[in-house]
Symmetry: none
Subunit: 214 residues, 2 copies
């Protein structure tokens, strides 16, 4: 009882909320985030009071230099901050995992497990938007019989349907360009870093190492 009742305080600023062991010391959330952001930076910090500021909940944001100094003083460890490489890999894995789950959910709704990758596409796997309405009817049918709107997904479903069945100029253009290319244009992917998966990222690294161009 007493252990729980006796509040732990942030060793940096004295805050009493959301205390946990962070980077090897008991701190609050804000000092945790502060240390993560600041400790690895190489830029010089300045203190107006010759490095003698008192750090508490009110003053902690006033002098980053003294706050960081106190972080180190109470034993927060810089080597517990994950490296950028590590973070990159983790983000990558998370994205892949999410994609996998999304695909699973999709196939769970549609029920079919036979969607083997027909990747030899040259544009034909896009639904044609030439006014042939049977495909759209099929889609409506499928939406009606498989979609569960208990979670308010109808808006998304409608968006997707609109996109697939619409006569969007942009979509048409994309299809035309895609058909001309033997290779799916990577430039598209590069407009969004999140779209690069682990394999692609690796491959780019390999290529660059191999070529020594830059």
């Amino acid at each position: 009882m007493d252990v729980k009742v006796k509040e732990r305080l942030c060793q940096v600023c004295g805050e009493s909320k959301q205390i946990g062991r962070n980077f090897c010391a008991f701190t609050c959330e804000s000092c945790k985030a502060f240390f993560r952001r600041t400790a690895l930076k190489t830029i010089q910090l300045h203190c107006a009071s010759n490095g003698k500021c008192e750090i508490n909940v009110q003053t902690r944001r006033l002098c980053p230099k003294c706050r960081l100094k106190k972080c180190f003083d109470i034993g927060m460890r810089i080597d517990f901050i994950r490296s950028e490489t590590d973070n990159k890999i983790r983000r990558q894995l998370m994205i892949e995992k999410k994609m996998k789950k999304l695909l699973q959910d999709m196939s769970a709704y549609s029920g079919d497990s036979s969607d083997n990758d027909s990747n030899a596409n040259s544009g034909q796997e896009f639904p044609e938007s030439d006014g042939n309405s049977s495909a759209i009817d099929d889609m409506d049918d499928w939406i009606e019989h498989t979609c569960d709107d208990s979670q308010g997904s109808s808006r998304q479903v409608m968006d997707i349907k609109y996109c697939l069945s619409g006569k969007s100029d942009i979509l048409t253009e994309i299809r035309q360009k895609a058909q001309k290319l033997a290779v799916i244009p990577m430039c598209k992917t590069l407009t969004d870093y999140n779209g690069i998966n682990q394999l692609e990222s690796r491959r780019i690294d390999e290529l660059l190492v191999a070529t020594n161009v830059f």
Copy 2:
């Protein structure tokens, strides 16, 4: 309820609009700007009423001396005004960031394939900022004869010129590092898509087209 209802007032003039914590005290926007502009000035201010003016929304502009005195009295802190050096560095960083973005936008929109890759750079393609003004003259010349300001780009052009002709420590550092490296490390760039420059982006595209891997 009471906290929200009770309006905060500027501690200097009593203004009730746009109150925030500025330089360690709750003030309005205009007293904030006044303090920023005035507090560091060394010129002597004079008061006709022997320093006993009352400061409110109506009178605040009548006596700068008493207004400034009240600023200090309520605890506004001069050491929270950033130094000119600090501001200079920040402006420099902002401009460099803008340049990066501008280059990205250019490569995204222009789609031109004419700028052949002079990729054997080892830092020399940065203009030297050693006081040799001929490069700057050339730049002025080039700006004058090629830039079209019909879309309000002159501001951006000036930013770029300022950045290229300045003696930025950061630029110097970048140059030195670049010269030491036969290869600009791509791994760094990949941690942040925004860091990929035009050349790098192009080169990746070329590599991918050439290899037909994906």
